[in-house]
Symmetry: C2
Subunit: 344 residues, 2 copies
DNA sequence: TTGTATGCGTTATCAA
DNA sequence: TTGATAACGCATACAA
């Protein structure tokens, strides 16, 4: 009879109320038995669990989140989703978040700050309880939205001078600088640098800066002809070699700070019959499996990709669940490591 | 005054009600102006939009979804998140879903059917309006949950004989068979097959089956010593060659139906000084960029990875938004293509 | 330890 | 075209 008063037709599935009726208890008891089992007697707990199974109840997290104003989703925005460099970080994030019952929402900004802004708004609209951004550059409105919403955020791809909130990364600048210095110490004098396009890419820009800083420290003046910007991929690495060699034939080292560029460069050198590293050294920026298996194996930087995801999730959860281990402004530098192999 | 009656402290941000007050209209008018602008007069629409901007309102999708019992999230479950073969599909999904305002939630099952079941439950708990599964094997409970919830589902990694609902894929069996036949027609007689572990992996199993079927069609009896199962990665490909060659020295072709295995195999052959394809042919299963750039370039299968994601999203949206283009039981075979290169 | 009343922020429904 | 009201399914606050 009461039911008839409703002006809306129910479309959903089984509700907590159905479980409550089945178990002969109130919905609050069901709610507690499921969310805070300790606050319910042994007997009730069992009765509720049985009823849940009998009626095939799946809690409605939308309702739970709305009512408690706490959600269990986290949003991740990466520049490009079809980029294997994110997969390890994604895995670290996913493993840790899932262990606490959180779900990951993912989107790509296409290296476009205004698209990132839209995605931030979209995620806030979804009421995510945390955000992970692979950028450190954001539009003013994106910053304002995040500040106003008050959600914890972790920036990932680089160490931000002015963090939005928290950050976990290595320093692109320091990494590029370290490898360049390493090459310098090995005796290479004409060190070329192949970078990914730096437009709307703070990581690329910082790497170029690090390279320049190293040269300066080595007492050299950076030669613009030794710096090329290109896209991702093997073909780009090869093409970068072609361009540099044309301009500066005496180049003796090639540092590729981008995805798989180094392998493309290596193949190109081999095609020319150049012995690596005798004629020209090659170094890379990220320890993808391939670099260890080509011949000669490529000297590179090991970046803490998985750890970044893992730590990011931990920091986010700490703030969301108020374990209060991490504070606003925490910036964690997970460092990098030079892996010396045969190519340099 | 009315406000004081509340026993709950508001924690959230700006609500539709705030916009309504600002604009001097009811919340319903705001709701309509935002969700169904056509149902509102020109003037109202503008007034509402202005108020939205003035107060900095972001709709609450949790509330919207709860109230309308329609969500704008889709759940994706892949066996392993750190696997580059999914990135293209993920991109296709993401692009199409985002164009309609849908968000993607992603999780990994670790090739464990029971974990997949848990994730299905978790996503249903989140009230996703669609599911994408990369498996075609599911637990009974997972199937029951999905059926009961009535959400549209697309299966992706393979063509399911008994689809849960819809499916978009190519046929792993046919693809492996086609390449094996291709090698047979090229004159290779002792064709080895390196597969990823087939346990809980229907794709791998179907590929092995396809390989066997092709041999039978070629009038050969499959030799178990020519089949190896291994894990992903370059090292595994090399090791697979070692194992097979030890057992069957006269092997003359190596078909690698797994991620990057073929390149590992190629490197191992070259290490042994074997000329490819003169001494031994090599073929692969998926057209990753690398295969085209190694020397000799590797003959492989082109799989419609991006298209699978794109089409999957379209089918899902069709059902969710009731454009009713795709029906239950739709199984779309996006086919594959043999890319003939130098290695075979 | 359990239950009652109420609200979370939105939309469905019906009336004006 | 607009508004009032009652849900959506759950958790908070408080009473018993």
């Amino acid at each position: 009879m009461e039911e008839e008063r409703s002006s809306r037709r129910r479309t959903g599935g089984i509700r907590m109320r159905d479980v409550a009726e089945r178990a002969g208890v109130s919905t609050m008891t069901v709610s507690r038995a499921l969310s805070e089992p300790a606050k319910v007697s042994q007997e009730m707990r069992e009765r509720v669990i049985r009823a849940v199974e009998e009626v095939g109840y799946l809690p409605n997290l939308l309702a739970r989140s709305l009512s408690s104003s706490r959600s269990t989703t986290v949003g991740l925005i990466v520049p490009s989703i079809d980029n294997s460099i994110y997969t390890q970080t994604l895995k670290g994030l996913s493993v840790v978040l899932r262990s606490r019952g959180f779900q990951l929402m993912i989107a790509e900004s296409g290296y476009d700050p205004s698209e990132e802004e839209d995605l931030v708004a979209a995620f806030l609209t979804q009421r995510v309880s945390g955000l992970v951004l692979h950028n450190i550059e954001h539009t003013d409105r994106a910053r304002a939205l995040i500040r106003q919403a008050g959600v914890p955020v972790v920036e990932n791809g680089n160490l931000p001078p002015e963090p939005l909130d928290m950050a976990v990364s290595y320093s692109n600048r320091e990494a590029a600088k370290a490898m360049t210095l390493h090459l310098g110490r090995l005796g290479y004098r004409k060190i070329a640098f192949a970078s990914l396009f730096a437009h709307n890419n703070d990581r690329s820009r910082d790497r170029i800066e690090g390279y320049r800083a190293a040269l300066t420290e080595l007492g050299q003046t950076p030669d613009p002809r030794l710096i090329v910007e290109t896209s991702r991929g093997l073909a780009s690495g090869a093409e970068a070699v072609v361009r540099v060699v044309q301009a500066v034939p005496e180049v003796d080292a090639f540092f590729c700070a981008g995805d798989v560029l180094a392998v493309g460069a290596l193949f190109e050198c081999q095609k020319r019959g150049w012995v690596v590293p005798r004629r020209i050294a090659i170094a890379s920026f990220d320890d993808v499996d391939l670099l260890r298996h080509v011949s000669p194996a490529v000297t590179t930087l090991r970046l803490p990709r998985y750890g970044i995801g893992e730590r990011t999730a931990q920091m986010l959860l700490g703030r969301i669940l108020d374990d209060a281990e991490y504070l606003r402004g925490s910036v964690v530098d997970l460092k990098f490591e030079i892996i010396q192999r045969e190519s340099a």
